[in-house]
């Protein structure tokens, strides 16, 4: 987490609203396209306005579209949402097709979802059914009554059997066999 994230609103990831299950409520309320009529950095936005803006406005009657020409300023799109969010997006030197895609993003998203620092990358309403993990789950119950430190719990139990130990066991087995055959 870098310093620039400290003032970012923080929250948890969430599922989208059940918008459209009954009736669909368009979330984007207003979109303002700010651009310059002469500067080259507004070229893409001007192309979009000339070619696609009327269609966009016709297809989305619920969205209020404003155009704000302003001299010698950078191109910007500001979108306002039903939940009060306001998304400011610079369109400096963006091409026509890029702007088409960004406007599609602004139109379809539910408020300002990008400017949220996720505290965790997962979220659930039901944290645990079987009870949350504690340091004592899956532990040997013998440890509850054990008096630590104890060599029994401290000894290494992951090493393979040594050759010496194997030989000794073979010898023990041989001795038993000798006793059995003698009888």
């Amino acid at each position: 987490m870098s310093n620039s994230n400290l003032f970012l609103k923080s929250g948890f990831i969430r599922a989208p609203l059940q918008n459209g299950v009954g009736r669909f409520v368009p979330q984007l309320q207003r979109i303002v396209l700010k651009f310059c009529k002469s500067n080259g950095s507004s070229r893409g936005l001007r192309d979009f306005i000339e070619q696609d803006l009327v269609d966009f406005a016709k297809q989305n009657p619920s969205v209020v579209v404003y155009l704000k020409p302003r001299r010698h300023r950078g191109p910007v799109i500001v979108a306002e949402y039903l939940n009060g969010d306001r998304v400011w997006m610079g369109m400096h030197n963006k091409t026509h097709s890029e702007i088409t895609k960004w406007i599609e993003v602004l139109r379809t998203q539910q408020g300002d979802i990008a400017s949220l620092r996720l505290r965790k990358y997962q979220y659930t309403d039901y944290p645990s059914v079987q009870g949350p993990w504690t340091p004592f789950t899956f532990k040997d119950p013998e440890l509850n009554t054990a008096k630590l430190p104890d060599p029994k719990y401290g000894a290494n139990n992951r090493l393979p059997m040594t050759a010496t130990e194997k030989l000794r066991l073979m010898f023990e087995k041989q001795k038993l066999n000798d006793v059995n055959t003698a009888e």
């Binding site: 340091p135 532990k139 440890l143 630590l148 430190p149 719990y153 401290g154 290494n156 139990n157 000794r168």
Partner: protein, 140 residues
Amino acid sequence: MGLHKPIYHPMNDCGDVVVCINSREIALRGEEWRRRAYFHHTGYPGGASWTLAWELHNKDPTMIIKKAVYKAMQGNLQRRHTMERLFIYPGEKVPDDVLQNVSNQIRQLRPVPTRLDHIPEEEVQNFPKVMDYPEDYVLK
């Protein structure tokens, strides 16, 4: 700290405290006791000093472990606070208030070597052998 726990989160404090006992009995490999030097500088001119491992161990039997752990950690601001969670005792004696909170034991990485004269006489006698030394054989 506590990275291995399912409840880990950078903003919750779930690291374990570790109690280390018998630090007086540590082993160093090869010539390390004589060759390894610990550097310290007081900050004043001529304030540098090099202490050999055996000298340091005689002065404070917990110091070698402490420095080894400290050196192995990342050199960030958290290091000194993380070190506060390590208790090192030179012998078996651990204060009761520390011991009563111990809930588990970390298993050894390798078996502790035993000496022949520490193994019971009977067990040595019963250990299988290929042959006996002859009567007149002189052990060096």
